[in-house]
């Protein structure tokens, strides 16, 4: 065997004073890190296999385990960092594209954390959400911009199809294939209970989940996997995926070993074959083609469902969004560069795209400048980490947010970013039955419900503090935000003042 230049990234630290050798760690590690050595009568570990997913740590009944980053180091070099060097070694060893999962982890600015929220004092009362109604119900879809009346002068409900959300949070697209059956079941059940929506992603809709159709957004992406008439009709809305924040400009690839019987059936592809989503839609080479697809889908579903178009936040996102808004889409979804993925080339994930905060601010302002903000709803994702991010997004102009990474975290994901291996110890990003069963949707759904309910509570609390008792009065209300530590250019793009102004 050739020399492996790499030292393991993590160390498994076991407190032998506490270890009772129950072997739960061993049984629960799909990476086969832990094993019992009968000779030493001790648990041992091969840390080179460890991905720091913390399954063992979480299950250890005596807290005997922790995973630490190795302090093994290269000679200090601000330019050739350990990471940079290791990546060269890995590529020199394999000759391959580096693959990663989940969102861009690099230390770029996080604008959410550079915006502060307002509160009422004296001139305007804050509102106590425990005493007064506090409304976060949201409708997504095109607004009519004019009224019509019947002969008796009564208003005619001339709204296009709308999505009604009890909370301004939806679960964004993750395909059955990239995540497990039980992860999908958890999302679907939670969406129903919360009165919001989850998104099939590009993997089609498993037969078992048609029952959740009224809370499902069905996605049509470049691979067109699992798309058929019943599928389109099953959902509450249809989303055309043009791009994804984690990997703008490229397609997707579900390796054949993940395409088991169920996935094969759901995606309508042969078992064991790679499912490759092309980088572009091969019937969309320009905006007028998108318009055709939007209306094709509307035709196919008798204009009963809103059509969403999801794009990645890239440099000229405002102009693209404007084009999308004029293409007949009812809802534009913008995915920031921190958005997650089941697998993406590392270089793309870490270097392509722009922050969602700036993209959102630019898109919202652009649509207003053009007077068409009301013709389309704006949903943003990638990455909304908490209710403050959510509130800031809405104040910047979003109608609602998409969450996916946060949802997976609620399901147990520890962001080890090894989805591409298919050995997710939490039963999320895997198709191996013995791992999939680790995610009991009863628990999963409840945790998602808890998370979103908690965010909704916090959102209401913060809204009440601002004296706002309905979410529509927060939307685009940028006066409620102030920047901190931002340049004038950044403030201008975000359309907010600096703290103290």
């Amino acid at each position: 065997m050739a020399i492996d230049f790499l030292y393991p990234q993590y160390e498994v630290v076991r407190n032998y004073d506490r270890c009772i050798a129950c072997r739960a760690c061993e049984r629960q590690c799909a990476n086969e890190v832990h094993f019992y050595d009968p000779e030493f009568q001790k648990m041992m570990a091969d840390e080179s296999k460890c991905v720091a997913c913390h399954r063992c740590v979480s299950l250890c009944p005596t807290r005997a385990l922790k995973i630490v980053k190795t302090d093994h180091t290269f000679k200090a070099n601000a330019n050739w960092t350990g990471k940079a060097i290791s990546e060269v070694y890995r590529q020199a060893g394999t000759g391959g594209v580096l693959l990663s999962s989940m969102g861009n982890p690099e230390p770029y600015p996080i604008y959410w954390d550079k915006m502060l929220i307002n509160a009422s004092q004296v001139t305007n009362p804050s509102i106590d959400p425990l005493r007064e109604p506090m409304e976060t119900r949201t409708f997504l879809g095109k607004k009519p911009g004019k009224v019509e009346r019947d002969r008796d002068g009564r208003l005619v409900p001339n709204l296009s199809p709308q999505l009604e959300l009890n909370v301004p949070v939806m679960f964004s697209a993750m395909s059955y294939g990239s995540i497990s059956y039980n992860a999908h079941a958890s999302l679907a059940r939670a969406a129903c209970a919360l009165g919001t929506y989850y998104n099939t992603g590009e993997g089609g809709l498993h037969q078992d989940f048609y029952q959740y159709g009224p809370h499902t957004i069905v996605q049509v992406a470049s691979g067109r996997f699992g798309v058929h008439k019943e599928y389109l009709e099953a959902g509450a809305a249809i989303e055309i995926k043009m791009g994804q924040g984690a990997k703008p400009g490229i397609g997707g690839h579900l390796p054949g070993h993940k395409v088991g019987p169920d996935i094969s059936r759901t995606r309508m592809i042969p078992e064991g074959t790679d499912a490759i989503s092309p980088a572009p839609h091969h019937d969309i080479y320009s905006i007028e083609d998108l318009r055709q697809l939007v209306f094709s889908l509307k035709e196919a579903t008798a204009y009963k469902k809103p059509v969403m178009v999801k794009i990645a936040a890239v440099h000229n996102v405002a102009a693209i969004a404007s084009g999308v808004a004029r293409s007949g889409a009812d809802i534009i979804c913008i995915d920031g560069y921190r958005g997650g993925t089941g697998a993406a080339p590392t270089r793309i994930r870490d270097n392509v795209g722009i922050p969602i905060e700036l993209a959102l601010a630019a898109v919202d302002q652009r649509l207003r400048d053009e007077g068409i903000r009301d013709q389309v709803s704006v949903v943003v994702g990638g990455s909304i980490r908490n209710s403050a991010d959510l509130l800031k997004a809405i104040a910047l102009g979003a109608d609602a947010c998409y969450i996916a990474t946060a949802a997976l975290l609620a399901l147990g994901c520890h962001l080890c970013r090894s989805c591409q291996t298919g050995k997710c110890n939490w039963g999320i990003a895997t198709q191996r039955p013995e791992l999939v069963k680790r995610l009991n949707p009863e628990i999963g759904a409840q945790r998602l419900i808890n998370l979103v309910t908690a965010w909704d509570h916090e959102l209401k609390e913060m809204m009440g503090g601002m004296g706002i008792n309905s979410i529509e009065a927060l939307r685009g209300n940028r006066l409620m935000l102030r920047g901190i530590g931002l340049t004038q250019k950044e403030l201008d793009i975000l359309g907010i003042k600096h703290a103290g102004e």
């Binding site: 109604p133 009224v147 007077g371 004296g467 706002i468 009065a473 927060l474 939307r475």
Partner: protein, 365 residues
């Protein structure tokens, strides 16, 4: 240095009062001044104003522009613009009397005018849209000129000072109106600017407002899509534009406008009979961004009518009194009682529940 209205958004507390004669009977400004004087403590001397409807019967078919000028140059420029677009049938300084507490006055002019037919035709606009665009453009672009009243047979009078002083300053005893509204202002940090005082008006819609709306920027950024420019950054201004947009441009009725800007809570909507539920849901959803939150009590004056409205939580006080055909509305009951001690009825409207009064058959033959 302190920034003035329009450069910065200034929160304010206030007093409002209104008198409306359903039978069209007109009275001069004495009683409305008395009413607002009673609520002296709700103002702090940094703005007061009045709107009177039916005050210019002789020029009823003409737009009455009331304009503040900071400079002669601004006046010249504005008058040039007016002349280019309008046929001016009368122009004059608005009569005022010297008042010890009203100082730093700008030039205050009044023009009765009607759009030039050629200009109007070539603009392909409806007459009122033509006028409103003109007003917005002047206010937005012409430094030192500010058109603060632009309706027909109505006029706004406002200044920096306590409202009762402002009324005396403008000699309102000389004007007779079937509908008066007035406002005393309590801004928190302004040097006081005449244009920032209430009422705020566009065409014949005028708004006086007590409160501070928390939805301001959401409303502003939305309404500005439709040709409005919120130069003053005040709640009153944005509410005026919302009322103008929903009423004049989209054709919603005043009750419907109230259902948009003070939309009932979803929990209330859900309890309605199906048709009403659908109607309210529609209005709330279709015009979601025009929901106004935060405390307010407003009086919206318009030709032939007056609408009083509280925010849906009723975070500001407002009472309505009736005596025969006359309706009184004020922030405090004392401001009604002082001018109409014997009332047929007095009540407190609930949050979000509009009180709309109109001229009856006697007032509107």
């Amino acid at each position: 240095m302190l920034q003035k209205e329009g450069q910065i958004r200034i929160p304010a507390g206030c007093a409002i009062s209104g008198i409306f004669h359903r039978d069209g009977a007109r009275e001069n400004g004495a009683r409305i001044i008395e009413s607002i004087r009673t609520m002296h403590d709700r103002s702090n001397g940094l703005g007061g104003g009045f709107a009177g409807y039916g005050i210019y019967p002789e020029y009823a078919d003409y737009y009455a522009f009331h304009v503040f000028y900071d400079t002669q140059a601004a006046k010249d420029a504005c008058e040039q613009a007016l002349e280019r677009h309008f046929d001016i049938v009368d122009l004059s300084r608005i009569p005022t009397r010297r008042h010890p507490r009203i100082t730093d006055e700008p030039m205050i002019w009044r023009y009765f005018a009607t759009p030039l037919q050629t200009k109007l035709a070539s603009s392909q606009l409806d007459e009122r849209e033509f006028v409103s665009r003109f007003v917005i453009r002047i206010n937005h672009t012409l430094e030192g000129a500010y058109i603060f009243s632009s309706g027909k047979n109505m006029g706004v009078f406002k200044a920096n000072g306590f409202p009762e002083d402002v009324g005396e300053y403008y000699m309102l005893e000389n004007y007779e109106a079937y509908s008066w509204t007035c406002h005393g202002r309590y801004p928190t940090n302004t040097p006081g600017w005449w244009g920032g005082a209430h009422p705020f008006a566009l065409l014949d819609t005028s708004v006086v407002h007590n409160g501070e709306i928390s939805s301001y920027d959401a409303n502003r950024r939305f309404i500005e899509m439709f040709g409005y420019s919120c130069d003053l950054l005040t709640d009153t201004e944005v509410i005026t534009y919302i009322v103008d947009y929903l009423g004049r441009k989209l054709g919603l009725t005043y009750p419907e406008i109230a259902n948009v800007i003070a939309a009932p809570f979803w929990s209330t909507i859900e309890k309605q009979p199906p048709e009403e539920r659908e109607r309210l849901t529609y209005l709330r959803n279709a015009f979601a961004s025009l929901l106004v939150t935060g405390p307010f009590s407003i009086l919206v004056g318009f030709t032939g009518g007056l609408m009083a409205l509280n925010d849906r939580l009723k975070l500001r006080s407002m009472v309505v009194g009736e005596k025969d055909d006359t309706v009184y509305i004020a922030s405090e009951e004392c401001a009604v009682r002082v001018i109409a001690p014997a009332l047929d009825r007095i009540w407190t409207p609930r949050g979000g529940e509009p009180v709309i009064v109109r001229l009856n058959e006697r007032g509107n033959p």
